[in-house]
Amino acid sequence: MTDPAAPAEEAATVAAAVAGTATTIEVAAANPLRDPRDKRLPRVAGPCVMVLFGVTGDLAKRKLLPAIYDLGNRGLLPPGFSLVGFARRDWKDQDFARLTHDAVKANARTPFREEVWKQLAEGIHFVPGEFSDDGAFDALAMALKEIDQTRGTGGNYAFYLSVPPKFFPAVVKQLKRTGLADAPEGSWRRVVIEKPFGHDLKSAHELNEITNEAFPESSIFRIDHYLGKETVQNIMALRFANNLYEPIWNRSYVDHVQITMAEDIGLAGRAGYYDGIGAARDVIQNHLLQLLALVGMEDPTSFEASSLRREKEKVLKAVRLPADLKNNTARGKYAAGWQGGEKVVGYLEEEGIPADSTTETYAAIKLEIANRRWAGVPFYLRTGKRLGRRVTEVAVVFQRAPHLPFSKDDTEILGQNALVIRVQPDEGITVRFGSKVPGTAMEVRDVSMDFAYGESFMESSPEAYERLLLDVMIGDPPLFPHQREVELSWKILDPIEEFWATQGQPEDYPAGSWGPPSADEMMARDGRVWRRL
């Protein structure tokens, strides 16, 4: 740095010089100590600071803070990594450190080790303030500049907005005003946002405008934690690393696809957010449509973000809604009942829910994908709260064999072949097929062949948030949905929501059951049934 720098740029140049420049793919590639053949060396993030807004929230305590510790424990955090908390609390650094410590002890996946905690604790800072308070953000900017000096983080900041979307405009505006959103040469600034990405196409668009004012699209990381799950990433491995499945992964062999996310819990304290949103916006728009995209897409030319997103967008664009929405969608709300041996109240009796609420807690829809691979193959998506048990899965159900050279009685109880990707819990893959029942008679019955992750791989595979936080720090975007995907998903869901808005109250279903009768009728009309989970 021998050139005299202009005063305005000076601060930035100093910060950059302190830490060298940011880790970029190019610098890492030129690193003489790295070699693609050296697979023992993990991907480690470059020096950076993570600024967490909403540190006292449930997500921070349950997932984010423990995930950061787990990354440290696996040796994946850079030396000098610093964590800055920002919240409306009259706290000092050590108060935030204590909160982090407790969250780590309670929820981390890996064992607690003193030296890892020491490394993390040295970098913990807290800035108190409100989102409307200019002074607090000036203090944040000062604190970050100081951290660059003392910890060598080189002006690389990731801002994690773990706050309700109504606060986004205020935070983003402040980040812009204080210049924190603008990365000086050789460093980066990224913003991480959580779902919901709006509640319809229009609001999603507005939300994006706000974020875009301060951050370019390439710096925005939208977290859909489902995409961080090993089982979801394995959908791509299953489809594109094997030769066994892809030849039959099309309309010639597949009868239909069922994608389910069932929860056994009720509102769990989210009444304020949930009412008026409902199951479809909460789950189908993001998680289930992302699963649909991964199951339905063509093979990407590579696993780079742009190629992967292009294929997902193509399939989302090809999604068609049924003409008759009344008969091809279903929605319900749970009534009082017994769930897993516990007596639970109905949705309308939940605290904070107005008695005339028309929000659905169960939604099922039928979609088609209008392309050569999938024409005529329905994709059934369903999600609900207070269902029988907690399970998320993708079931590809195959057509029956065109001819059965057995007598009708022999195959009476033979179902359809199915390949089930169990996303959670009990992650794995099940293949269901017919097999002869041992004995002198030829009787064929369904059996399952199981692959369980826990059985063949690591006992403690990384948590979804670990993977995603690491990807944010490294700047690796394939597992984050692009704004175009978000908008395409709303385009699919908006007409359904508009139709539902004209239909009054959703149908009741008893808590602990598998949804309203209309969902079963919708399948019955097509001559199919929901998988019993």
């Binding site: 420049t21 023992r40 993990p42 060598g152």
Partner: protein, 303 residues
């Protein structure tokens, strides 16, 4: 846990008994991903098996422990079968007597899981050419541990001469956190290396291996010096603009220093044998980086 003893038996009987025990427990098929053959002495048996069972929690395996007993006794094979809570897989401890000690492969080979990788591990003394060893020849991956023998550095030099793709040594796995930290430090541009030094307790085989790797990758001489330990204590690299160093004196927390930047602490704890073994089992393809490092070590070794 079910333990079952078979004395004066054969591989066929062991197989049948394993199958029988599995059926009895109601779990005839499980997803074991590999066979791990542990070749050790009676006195290493307990610790090695413990480490192997722990590693098997990450990589469910059939673990075969091969113990050669008195060669001058009558030929006999004793087996101890363990299935149950301590491991998701199966453990068979084989004790060989008499002439059979020379033909362990005839017992091991029928007990290997079909169509899955085989890993051989010598927790103590290892053959000079692991790939030519009868059991080593059955395995795709052969793991030795130079630190377990008296002169570990000499051991590595010998192993380098007999190297075949698939060989690795736990003294290499012990270096992964160090190498990872150094690689992360080099993710930011650093100047050209002039010279360097790795400090460790005298005779620690990992030290010259790390020095050899750094020399190989950075193209400048990196020496080894003795320190009070424990284990590896520091790496100092002289660069054009100053010194980049990682130092660790308590075997847990290290300090990273580099020119023009504040010192930073990083967790860098020594790892247990089970963790090292689990790392080895994660990748079963040959480790070419290790090959280059250990061969360089052997070239500069003056024994």
């Amino acid at each position: 846990m079910t333990t079952f003893m078979l004395t004066d038996t054969t591989a066929g009987k062991i197989s049948a008994q394993l199958m029988h025990l599995r059926h009895q427990m109601g779990a005839p098929a499980i997803g074991m991903v590999l066979t791990l053959v542990v070749i050790c002495d009676e006195r290493d048996q307990y610790d090695s098996l413990r480490a192997a069972t722990e590693a098997a929690r990450e990589h469910p395996s059939r673990i075969l422990v091969v113990i050669s007993r008195e060669a001058d006794e009558a030929n006999r094979l004793d087996a101890e079968l363990r299935i149950g809570e301590s491991t998701p897989g199966e453990v068979v401890v084989l004790r060989l007597y008499g002439e059979l000690t020379e033909h362990a492969d005839s017992v091991v080979s029928p007990l290997l899981l079909p169509d899955t990788p085989v890993v051989a591990w010598w927790p103590g003394a290892a053959p000079q050419v692991p790939a030519k060893d009868p059991i080593g020849a059955l395995a795709q991956r052969r793991i030795t541990d130079a630190k377990a023998v008296h002169d570990g550095i000499k051991e590595l030099a010998i192993l380098a001469k007999g190297y075949a793709p698939g060989d690795t040594d736990l003294s290499w796995a012990r270096l992964t956190p160090w190498r990872s930290l150094l690689a992360a430090a080099f993710d930011q541009p650093v100047g050209k290396l002039k010279k360097g030094v790795v400090e460790a307790t005298a005779g620690h085989p990992s030290a010259p291996l790390l020095a050899a790797w750094l020399t190989e990758r950075l193209g400048a001489p990196v020496k080894v010096a003795d320190s009070a330990g424990p284990g590896l204590t520091s790496v100092r690299l002289s660069l054009a603009d100053g010194e980049l160093s990682v130092s660790r004196s308590d075997a847990r927390l290290a300090t990273l220093s580099r020119p023009g930047q504040p010192d930073r602490n990083v967790a860098l704890a020594r790892r247990t044998t089970a963790e090292l073994l689990a790392e080895e089992l994660r990748r079963l393809d040959s480790d070419e980086i290790y090959e280059a490092a250990v061969k360089r070590l052997a070239k500069s070794y003056k024994g």
